[in-house]
């Protein structure tokens, strides 16, 4: 046998693995930090534009003048409407109009959208909400095509709420803003400036990095913004603003001297959950129980989930999986609607420490969350998501308050089963082969490959027996179908590496 076979190399590399230091909560925090920064930056841009006007394609447009071309909300795609409606509304609901697919609606009123600039490549819109918030969105001309989640036109979106107190806009006293990134490594622990950018107020023509000795490294201001590209490693001490004549009009220190970053600065941070709110007095507004837990919902938005037993398999499994997330689990409460065979759900939630009784308040301070009454609440852990695995496709704790929610949870579980099936490694190998132009296996061969949960179907529209996945194929397309406990036929069409016609996209993520 060859000394260097695959297994031997894999084992040798595995022995060199470093310490286990994963932290999903840290990933989420980074995501939120960035979102917050983006919101703050765009908020800053909004305010800056109010002062200075908006130069697009050579024209200067007063951003908040009455020049915008009104865009009817009905002309937007479903995805765009939801992103506009969802993001800031404090009283969100689902519409239940007979004969129509359900939609998210904002009970606080609808925003007005105006196209305020179009330079041929990028469109900018102003969005005004009836409760006084203004937002600016932009996107490329022609919009974006997304076969999975639907087409959309808004590429970025920011509002004049969020962080104006952070003073990220230029002011007469501080005519530039400074966003800096510093870096270091174990071998070069001294902090060095990696990136510098910001906004510049009127009258600032260039911004410069000032070294300890020597002249400043300058970049020009363009459209009220500046950005340094590659920054040479020097002893930068300050950033300065210059007018058109080259006179320095402002300077602020960078405070980099003597700063040393050590690897310990990037060690894992543990998540601390706030103590649960006190149990509310009085009777709950909603109450339901499942085989694993009971749920009480109060009018204030307080949710109390109580496990029937901490010895239950569900609790023990959540306990195991919560160890990967600092003891936390996800609590979500949702409303659902069904119309024209389309589901729509509106859910919100947060993380909490796993305990026999979990109390949390659905915080809707910034909008975008549903309000009671809910259709169901659930607890999600971090367990596996493989097709046909022992975890199944229901969440470990699902407490429906309504028959519609029970049906939704059953159909979602069935849809997930199909979604996980079409994304299995085995199926991906087949899909890639079909994508390359090779004929796929027959339905019978597919069924043999996946075992007794998969059965071949003779017709494209055929139905699978209960608990089974039926497959039909013409060697180019594969249709996988499964019947929900309520008797609805769900199906996914796989066309090589792409997902074709299906009726599961409201319930699961297929790719």
């Amino acid at each position: 046998m060859s000394v260097v076979d695959e297994g031997l190399l894999q084992r040798r590399f595995a022995e060199l693995s470093g310490p286990k230091d994963d932290d999903w909560q840290d990933v989420l925090r980074r995501t939120r930090r960035r979102r917050h920064r983006t919101a703050a930056l765009i908020a800053a841009v909004v305010v800056a534009l109010v002062v200075s006007g908006f130069a697009v394609g050579g024209r200067v447009i007063g951003l908040f003048d009455e020049h915008g071309k009104r865009i009817p909300l009905s002309s937007l795609s479903e995805r765009d409407r939801e992103s506009i409606v969802n993001s800031l509304c404090r009283r969100l609901a689902l519409s239940h109009r007979p004969g129509k697919a359900p939609e998210q609606v904002c009970l606080d009123g609808e925003p007005t959208i105006e196209e305020i600039a179009n330079d041929g490549s990028t469109i900018h819109w102003r969005i005004t909400y009836p409760w006084g918030v203004s937002c600016v969105a932009s996107g490329r001309v022609g919009g974006y095509h997304d076969p999975v989640f639907g087409d959309h036109i808004f590429g970025s979106f920011g509002c004049d709420v969020g962080a104006p107190e952070e003073k990220l806009v230029p002011t007469p006293k501080r005519p530039i803003t400074v966003e800096e990134s510093i870096g270091a490594s174990r071998t070069h622990p001294r902090a060095r400036l990696v990136q510098l950018s910001g906004l510049a107020g009127q009258g600032v023509a260039s911004v410069g990095l000032v070294p300890k000795t020597g002249s400043a490294l300058k970049v020009a201001v363009h459209d009220q913004a500046y950005s340094f590209g590659a920054i040479p490693d020097r002893d930068w001490v300050a950033v300065a603003a210059f007018d058109a004549a080259g006179n320095e009009v402002y300077r602020e220190s960078l405070h980099l001297e003597g700063v040393v970053l050590t690897p310990s600065s990037t060690t894992t941070t543990r998540v601390s959950f706030p103590p649960p709110p006190p149990r509310p007095a009085g009777a709950p507004f909603q109450h339901a129980s499942s085989s694993t837990a009971t749920a009480d919902v109060y009018r204030t938005g307080m949710v109390v989930l109580r496990f029937l037993s901490t010895k239950s398999e569900a609790y023990q499994q959540l306990l195991r999986s919560s160890r990967h997330s600092s003891g936390g689990v996800g609590i979500t409460c949702s409303t659902v609607a069904l119309g024209r065979n389309r589901w729509k759900d509106l859910g919100g939630g947060q993380s909490a420490r796993l305990a026999p009784e979990i109390r949390m308040r659905m915080d809707n301070e910034h909008g975008g969350m549903p309000s009671p009454p809910f259709d169901f609440c659930e607890i999600t852990g971090t367990y596996g998501r493989y097709w046909n695995d022992e975890e199944g496709t229901h969440e470990l704790v699902e407490v429906p308050f309504t028959p519609l929610a029970k049906r939704y949870l059953d159909e979602r579980a069935t849809a997930r089963d199909l979604a996980y099936f079409v994304r299995t490694r085995k199926m991906w190998r087949i899909r890639k082969a079909i994508h390359r132009g090779e004929p796929g296996p027959s339905a019978a061969a597919l069924a043999r490959l996946f075992g007794d949960r998969v059965v071949p179907l003779a017709r494209r529209e055929g139905e699978a027996p209960a608990g089974k996945i039926g497959v039909w194929t013409d060697r180019k397309a594969i249709v996988a179908t499964e019947t929900t406990p309520g008797g609805r036929r769900l199906f996914v069409t796989v066309q090589g590496v792409l997902i074709g016609p299906n009726n599961v996209r409201d319930l699961s993520f297929t790719f």
């Binding site: 260097v4 040798r12 590399f13 960035r34 997304d146 990037t266 596996g384």
Partner: protein, 161 residues
């Protein structure tokens, strides 16, 4: 979180160590690799709607992670190293023979070897991440195995002898 976010979270939970170890061969330390991987998954979460499902989710996240690692290297080492960044085992003293064997491989092949054996990626995924054909990956790994074989055989002989 939506299903796409859940899939990314699941990938993180299942494969974090592979990502961290693979990226450490670019960044040179586990600490920095951790930071890069955390940032890469945060980026993947933010951009998850851009994933069109035209390849595997894991390969898509790996691409982001490798790009983030290279960005980090460029930030720390300066732009002149762009394109010639070397990858290597983080703690060479833990397997000197393997390090010696890897050192004989061209720089560009080493990343493919690391992605295969450290990160446990399939040929197709490596091809997607490195933007080369699967054939190139297969040929590179075959050549790498031949190159490694003699050195490791020597080590085996000396251990027996």
């Amino acid at each position: 979180m939506d299903e796409r976010g859940e899939a990314i979270e699941h990938l993180y939970r299942q494969r974090y160590v592979h990502f961290r170890d693979g990226i450490a061969t670019i960044t040179g330390s586990y600490e920095t690799a951790r930071d890069v991987v955390q940032e890469a998954f945060a980026r993947a979460l933010r951009k998850r709607r851009a994933f069109r499902g035209e390849g595997s989710l894991e390969a898509w996240v790996w691409k982001i992670a490798v790009r983030t690692a290279y960005e980090h290297r460029r930030e720390v080492c300066g732009p002149s190293l762009n394109g010639t960044i070397e990858s290597a085992l983080v703690e060479p003293e833990r397997d000197p023979a393997l390090v010696e064997a890897l050192r004989t491989l061209p720089v560009k092949r080493r990343l493919i070897v690391f992605l295969r054996y450290f990160a446990d990626l399939s040929y197709a995924q490596i091809a997607e991440v490195c933007e080369v054909s699967e054939g190139t990956v297969g040929a590179t790994l075959a050549q790498a195995r031949v190159a490694l074989e003699e050195l490791l055989r020597e080590e085996e002989r000396s251990e027996r002898g």
